[in-house]
Amino acid sequence: MISPTGTRRKHLRIAALAVALAAIAGCTSTGEPPDPDAAAGQDTRQSAVEESADPSAAPSSAPRKGGASTIVKSAPPSPTAERTPPPKEFERRRVRVESAATARLVGLDVDKAGGVERVTFTFADTEVLPTYDVHFVEAVRAHPEDDPIAVNGEAFLEVGFAFTDPNTKGRLGVDPGMRPDQPLVKETLLVENLGGSLRFAIGLDHRARFRAVELDEPTRLVVEVRP
């Protein structure tokens, strides 16, 4: 684990994470059409951005002993934090749930059962899911100003996580690109992995309805898509 090395660096880390969080949350700069259903989420995002803030902060250039295991560092999840559960209905609207949890992504699986196809994200080191955001995008991009990334399919869901380490023992703990041979889910691709901010693209055969399901033991987020 990386140990904190001073307030300035911590502030920059928080700032970077906040920017990453904002990137997960706010996709209006990517050219995505405005999502009228996301208004509540935007309010929350705004408060998240306001938390950060020391633009002059700078990390040290010196190395730290102890190896590379995680890039994520934040306050532990608040036991009193109130989380709004995701809707149970299958819809095409953005689903975003805020959390103060940090987590480590240890599994990514795609399967189908009961008339739905499922993309399951499994987490360790937490009993609470980190902030996540699931929504359709017109084009998948690693950076809002960059060129589109090819993802198999005709419609693209993005699933973003904040404060999440994708590494296990320093290595990516999940396959960054999978191409399941399924009718609806054509590809999963890790398109952003920066400073604890993760974004996966899920390529779908068409713009299907979806829902996010939270499961415990282990902590999982299941994105279910229904033809």
Binding site: I2, R9, A16, P55, S56, A58, P59, S60, S61, A62, P63, R64, K65, G66, G67, A68, I71, E138, A139, A142, H143, E145, D146, D147, P148, I149, A150, N152, N167, G170, R171, L172, D175, P176, G177, R179, K186, L189, L190, V191, E192, N193, L194, G195
Partner: protein
């Protein structure tokens, strides 16, 4: 596509990557550091320092004992991989492009950033390599968009990107600056315009080593009002940049609608004679520009210029491309190469070769070489840098080289690499081998040709091969290649009097058998190799066909091309045995048994150049199953087959099977295959 500059060495011309004489090792070294998140987008070398740019926050030492906070740029020792502790500039966004200054003491960084070391430097900055400070004296001009690529040409810095204005000038997408001061340079005022969507952008540029030409790719369709769909060649030899009389319409078609441009990368060869372009775009068939790698000739001019070759991944994206001379390295999101015959853009088709995210191609024909380290594909490889000792690779994943852990950067050394064979192609004067069928028995014979006339025909040891089943053959170096009626192509060592064990040429059949190719082989009436191509004629067909072929890997191209229709003096349906020598094509005629020749250059037969070279004598006609020149030593191979030629391979018949019954069975099998193929094609 990056440069190598020695520290302290002033350069007047662009600095291409190092030239290699072989393929690098497929085993990456273990001393490179690990970039722990994000992606590596740009790699350059300045002296003993390699600088990586991208979007990342941390880097770990090779042994993972130490970690370093690094904000989108890091410098490492080129020989040890040790992370520099003196160079750690704070850049607040992705570094997309890097270029080493002429004195090798600083780098130009371009990308999606707004500040460097806390001060405003939008999209472009020059940074000292000794301490990471912003270089005094260089002031990047204000620009309305982002920088996506950089090239240094003498005292001129080329800047490509998404900007519409720079330094207050209406100069979009591509501009030149004074490399020392950053002041606007009016050398180029060319106007890139007309996009399918969004602002015009130039995504990648490269300059020939002599500084005479610049190639640009982007989402533009015109330059200075002239049609240049997504690719333009500029002439830099005058007082200002001009549009070169070089145009291709290969990138005119649309690919998937999500892309304002599907162009991804380009690299000019170290000799400046050609360049290679990669694309994304999603599968749109086997004749378009989507998801391709294509080579173009820079020594020519005209309109429209067609690619020298096109290699299809079959629906997956290619990103970084780097030419080292004998190799075109390719990185991306792909699973296959040589895959134009996929049925759906998400599968391997007949002839496809598995290559996961990284590949080496033969620059002659675009076919994959054997090099196959593999990597977890992720989004892709975004830059590669050939140096005098190997090849750096930057990506967004951490497994490469037989799934070794190398966090987003790896170095493949030249040491332990493999040379690419360039076998001798035999010609005349010399011996010419052919098969002769007398009294139902087909034997191999040879005749010496002194340049004007043939000597007497002599039987030679046939090595136990059933020559009646051969449909074509040729010799490269000391290897005899034979096509047979069962549709196989084999290779074996050959000295003229002894034969090694046969092995199948089947690298293109490992995933999905290329039935069309093997159907062709079963019906071939002539076959020869020339310049990365297998030329052949087919029974009853009035065409000379070819497929690409790379000796090093044994990969056969999945696409069949027509080299020539019948021309004055040659009817391809009459060909019965065929070979090529420098500037000449030679063939035997099934109609009259004569040997003829014609002028053959650049894969084309010159009409009206045909002449008869030899006529049948003593029953020895030039109607032959295989006709090829070879003037070897005649020595024995260590593994010379036992008398009687009892050695067989799986591709040879179990017993001599010249009888019509066996042939009928084979024809029946291929007819069935052909019928299936026709049904599949109809279904597709």
């Amino acid at each position: 596509m990056s440069g190598v500059v020695a520290v302290g060495t002033a350069t007047a011309a662009p600095t291409p990557g190092a030239v290699h004489d072989k393929v690098v090792s497929a085993d990456p070294v273990n001393w490179t550091p690990h970039v722990l998140d994000g992606r590596v987008k740009a790699i350059v070398q300045a002296g003993d320092m390699v600088i990586l740019g991208g979007s990342f926050t941390q880097v770990a030492s090779a042994d993972e004992s130490e970690t370093y906070d690094r904000a989108n740029i890091v410098a490492v020792d080129a020989k040890s991989g040790e992370v520099s502790t003196s160079f750690a500039p704070q850049i607040d966004g992705e570094v997309t492009a890097l270029q080493v200054s002429a004195d090798g003491k600083s780098v130009y960084a371009g990308g999606f950033f707004d500040t460097v070391n806390g001060a405003a430097h939008k999209s472009l900055a020059r940074i000292d390599l000794d301490d990471g400070s912003v270089t005094a004296g260089f002031k990047a001009p204000a620009m309305s968009g982002r920088v996506k690529d950089l090239r240094l040409d003498g005292d001129r810095l080329w800047v490509a990107g998404t900007f519409t204005h720079i330094a207050g000038k209406n100069q979009g997408a591509l501009a030149t600056l004074d490399a020392d001061t950053g002041a606007f340079d009016a050398f180029t005022r060319l106007k890139f315009a007309e996009t399918r969507s969004g602002n015009v952008q130039v995504m990648k540029i490269d300059i020939t080593p002599d500084g005479s030409k610049l190639v640009a790719i982007g989402n533009f369709f015109t330059v200075d009002g002239q049609s240049r769909p997504q690719l333009a060649v500029l002439d830099l030899t005058g007082g200002s940049a001009r549009l070169a009389p070089w145009r291709t319409d290969f990138y005119q078609p649309r690919c998937a609608s999500a892309y304002d441009s599907y162009m991804r990368d380009l690299d000019i060869a170290p000799n400046g004679k050609f360049f290679v372009v990669t694309t994304t775009g999603a599968w749109r068939g086997d004749d378009g520009p989507c998801d391709t790698t294509a080579r173009f000739d820079l020594t020519t001019s005209g309109d429209p210029i067609q690619p020298t070759w096109v290699n299809y991944s079959g629906g997956d994206t290619m990103y970084a491309v780097e030419i080292t001379g004998p190799v075109v390295y390719l990185g991306g999101h792909f699973r296959w190469q040589n895959n134009p015959n996929t049925s759906d853009g998400d599968s391997a088709g007949p002839g496809a070769v598995a290559r996961s995210g990284i590949a080496a191609l033969d620059p002659v024909n675009g076919l994959p070489l054997r090099w196959n380290p593999g990597r977890t594909t992720g989004v892709g490889v975004f830059d590669m840098l050939p140096t005098s000792t190997g090849l750096w690779v930057g990506s967004d994943t951490d497994r490469i080289g037989n799934r070794e852990y190398h966090g987003r950067v790896a170095f493949f050394p030249l040491a332990g690499g493999t040379a690419i064979p360039n076998p001798k192609q035999w010609g005349v004067p010399g011996d010419v081998y052919r098969t002769t069928t007398l009294a139902g028995s087909t034997k191999l014979t040879k005749q010496n040709f002194d340049g004007t006339k043939f000597g007497s025909s002599r039987n030679v040891d046939g090595g136990g091969i059933d020559w009646s089943r051969v449909t074509g053959g040729f010799v490269l170096g000391d290897t005899l290649y034979l096509a047979q009626a069962d549709g196989s192509l084999t290779q074996r060592k050959f000295t003229g009097s002894s034969y090694g064990a046969a092995s199948a040429i089947d690298a293109s059949d490992k995933l999905v058998e290329d039935y069309a190719w093997h159907r062709d082989l079963s019906r071939a009436t002539g076959l020869f190799y020339s310049s990365g191509r297998l030329y052949y004629t087919l029974s009853g067909q009035s065409k000379l066909y070819y497929r690409y072929f790379t000796v090093e890997s044994g990969v056969v191209g999945a696409t069949r091309f027509v080299a020539s229709e019948n021309v004055d003096g040659i009817r391809f349906a009459d060909v019965n045995g065929m070979f090529v020598t420098t500037g000449k094509i030679w063939w035997g005629s099934r109609a009259d048994g004569k040997l003829r020749q014609a002028t053959f250059t650049s894969g084309r037969i010159m009409p009206g150049t045909t002449k008869v070279v030899s006529t049948p004598t003593e029953g020895h006609t030039w109607k032959s199953k295989a006709t090829f020149p070879y003037t070897g030593t005649g020595g024995d191979l260590p593994d010379k087959p036992r008398p009687g030629g009892t050695r067989r391979t799986g591709t040879e018949p179990a017993k001599p099977a010249a009888e019509p019954a066996g042939a009928d069975e084979e024809r029946g099998w291929f007819d069935e295959l052909e019928k299936m193929a026709d049904e599949m094609e109809a279904a597709w």
